[in-house]
Amino acid sequence: MGLSGFFRRRRSVLPGFGLTLGLTLLYLSLIVLIPLSATFLKASTAGWSAFWHTVTEPRALASYRVTFGAAFIGALVNALMGLVVAWVLVRYHFPGRRMLDALVDLPFALPTAVAGITLTTLLSAHGWIGRYLEPLGIKAAFSPLGIVIALTFIGLPFVVRTVQPVLQALDPELEEGAASLGAGRWQTFRRVIAPELWPALLTGFALAFARAVGEYGSVVFISGNMPMRTEITPLLIITKLEQYDYAGATAIGVVMLVISFAMLLSINMLHWWSGKRYA
């Protein structure tokens, strides 16, 4: 396999490769690439040193920590709970399963601002959930915890929806084989099922993480926006815009874009690589 496999272009009898690839590239260029390149050009108008200064000032660094940290924890929670949810939804039968299954996509459809306001209503000191957390000394709204909760909410469908189909397609003979060879259930899971799920779980994690990093609408209501502590990077972009500093705003946007792109690309490569290995 390796490189030669990567560059091998199978001769195909199917038509339309040139046409469809051309159209894909055209559409992507018009809708995604050209508009995104505008941010790069705008960010470069201020010059390299100004760019560097903007993206490395303490407040920006603190906001990266909050944003990427909370997104990472949120995605981690989603990976773990998403795995459990997907497992339960696929493997077990219990009343209400179908409805729960259908609910999983809700975060996609609810406007993020509504999600933010609703979560804040639930979690603030007098809310349905917040009132029980408050006596325990847990501050859920207007804290880093609130950001994590909001980001978990919006990223939830990704992990469940990537792991589910793999679990469904898993060949039962593998497990039967392992069991007949005397493996315990936990051993079977670790040695047989987990390696199959791993790539999907990773993809789900990456998508949830990438989506969470850029999220603004829901977080701004629940975070409290305290500089250095709960200020997320997209909010920093807004404050730059508020000072009519387009170059600074796009500079920070570019940093987020590059990181997200690198993340997604490496995950897609990993997917391809693991696909090759297991094929």
Binding site: P58, T120, A141, G224, E242, Q243
Partner: protein, 336 residues
């Protein structure tokens, strides 16, 4: 078969959209304004339309756009076709002149009273009975008092809050260092920085967070009288800032659209007795003596200082306090 239904649906939607988009036979104006003026201009637009119909016979429809003051100014700079802007700070209208030259430099001198037909100030909103006994600015930095104000970086109203506090500290005979210390103390008492004034009000009223809300006087009056009667009361500090939200005509837009006359009349009518009355009804402090006298009961006596006397211009105030790396940012830098 199913695809045909889908396409029919698509065509139907397109038709409905196109049909409704362009069906106007009257003069329309677009007033781009900031967040808290929604109720004010809803009433005012109706009154002006009636007045304009009576005097000229033409029907005028005024469309409204509301949002954070800075965001709205940016939209106008980027091409939102506002005939008039009515924003929270002169700084934002100044930016429209500087960044896009959509109106001349002397815009603020074109209408009376620095182009601010109504004024307001910053007061405290506290919970009923004033349990923390908050009387003046100094009480805000007592231990255990929690203060709600939006983020000065993203909210025009919050900048007035900040400048009012700073001005008070200066007026107490303090120098710049003392004022800075006071502001630093004050923001240590702020647990949540919402992105806008309305967000802060929600945090204070709906979520029950904080002991005192720094707010526009008109927002505080609205909250105490209409949103939660009997749950809140207003505390007037000994001194506060005279906030002058300015209005302006966007020359380039009105000349292109041919709406200069009606737009001009729209702004001037704000200074008329009827306009002033509507402003006062919505708890903005009027300029016209007759109306001031009628509504004297409504507004507490506060010593008001202006931005000009303490800070010079908005540009200077902004550069010192709110720019990246300015005094507000320094408050939150670690180790200070």
């Amino acid at each position: 078969m199913r695809w045909r239904t889908v396409w029919l649906f698509v065509l139907l939607c397109l038709g409905v959209g196109a049909g409704t988009a362009f069906a106007e036979h009257t003069v329309t104006l677009l007033n781009v304004s900031y967040d808290p003026t929604r109720e004010l201009y809803q009433d005012y637009n109706a009154a002006f339309a009636k007045h304009w119909k009576e005097t000229t016979g033409t029907t005028v429809t005024v469309n409204q756009s509301h949002g954070g003051s800075g965001k709205q100014a940016r939209a106008v700079i980027d091409g939102l076709e506002a005939d008039v802007v009515t924003l929270a700070l002169a700084y934002d209208i100044e930016a429209i002149h500087e960044k896009a030259q959509l109106l001349p430099k002397n815009w603020q001198a074109r209408l009376p009273h620095n182009s601010a037909p109504y004024t307001s100030t910053i007061v405290f909103l506290v919970r009923q009975g004033n349990p923390k006994q908050i009387r003046d600015w100094d009480d805000l930095i007592r231990p255990g008092v929690s203060v709600i104000t939006p983020n000065p970086k993203t909210s025009g109203g919050a900048r007035w809050n900040y400048l009012a506090a700073w001005g008070y500290a200066l007026k107490q005979g303090g120098d710049e260092a003392k004022a800075k210390a006071f502001i630093g103390q004050l923001f240590k008492h702020v647990p949540v920085l919402d992105s806008g004034a309305r967000g802060s009000l929600t945090t204070f009223i709906e979520r029950g967070i904080g002991d005192v809300l720094l707010a526009w006087e008109h927002e505080a009056l609205l909250a105490s009288r209409e949103l939660g009667p009997g749950r809140f009361e207003i505390v007037a500090p000994s001194a506060s800032i005279l906030a002058e939200p300015p209005v302006a005509l966007i020359d380039r837009v009105v000349d292109r659209r041919g709406t200069r006359a009606v737009a001009q009349a729209y702004l001037e009518y704000l200074y008329s007795e009827q306009g002033q009355e509507i402003a006062a009804k919505h708890y903005y402090r009027p300029r016209l003596r007759a109306v001031i006298a009628r509504y004297a009961q409504q507004f507490p006596q506060i010593t008001l200082f202006t931005l000009e006397e303490l800070f010079g211009t908005w540009q200077q105030a902004h550069a010192t306090h709110f720019k990246d790396g300015g005094i507000f940012d320094q408050i939150y830098q670690p180790g200070r």
